[in-house]
Amino acid sequence: MVHFQKTQYPNIPIFQVSKDARVRKPFSYNNLYPYRRSFLDKSEIPQENLLTLNIFYFSNIGSISHPLLWVCRALYPKGGFMRRYETIFIIDNDLSEEERSPIFEKLKDLIQQHNGLQVMVDEWGTKRLAYEIKKKARGYYVCLDYCGSGTLVDEIERFFRIDDRALKYMTVLLDKDVDIENVKEEIAKAEEAKAEKAKAAQIDTPDVDPTDEPDAESKTSDKQENETLENEITSPENNVEEA
């Protein structure tokens, strides 16, 4: 598998299947050529770097197979370079929030290294697993939404495979060809919506001061009450056991 990174443009020779490439089956010709041409038009590769190859290839088999064409396919993937993926992973439930955060930072780093774009991290929180994984019945679900190339996915999956904190992961391809600017707009919109929601929530509860101190106090008191309640509830059982 040939991995192609954007930064490598000028150094590699770029093969272009010329227009008069004679390929017997029209559909394979169509498969090869048009998107490649559109990609080349869009890209900023100078014409001198393009090596035009005339491929005369007659095959009795319907599908075309030629090493050079494999190279072409690897160099110019069908959907372009940016794809949108979604990786759901389950983190060990026993980890505290502080122990969890380095995972997210690491993922962020990985995405930045591979010229990706992190769209959203959606933490679903602790959930019951449908079946035990590594002898654990509960897990902390996180859904990571990002754009990038296949190499990025490889790296992220490799990270999860090595890391013991992740119980399981799954990557799903959402979109084969993504325009980054559109995605960025989407992110901005989502953030705006969030901010508006927060505002609306504030308006709905005008009595609560923005300073959280009284809130926190009340919460802690609630907690204490709950604890006392629980104690009360559990105490009779203990009594029974003792009796």
Binding site: A130, Y131, M170
Partner: protein, 93 residues
């Protein structure tokens, strides 16, 4: 003679015709285009599995071939990430 011949040809089992009432089943995803099949949405997927976690066949649930395909795909995805069981029940909290 002819009548005899005909009667002989009938087998005993086929005499009784099963008249089962078939309600025309409609694919609910075709009927309502707002419904989206997503592997993260377990509540709606659970409707298409048995209590034991098996996928309900098309002939029973009545979904069309296209949507059944995406359904199975979604259910299998949900299984791999432990949102749904491969086997057995799960109490959903």
């Amino acid at each position: 003679m002819a009548a005899n011949f005909v009667s002989r040809k009938r087998r005993p089992g086929t005499d009784r015709k099963k008249r089962v009432f078939h309600r025309r089943k409609v694919c609910r995803f075709c009927a309502d285009s707002n419904l989206v099949i997503n592997y993260k949405d377990i509540k709606s997927l659970r409707y298409f599995t048995t209590e034991r976690g098996k996928i309900i066949p098309r002939r029973i649930s009545g979904t069309c071939a296209k949507h059944q395909r995406s359904l199975t795909h979604a259910i299998k995805r949900a299984r791999t990430i432990a949102l749904m069981p491969f086997v057995g029940t799960i109490d959903y909290n």
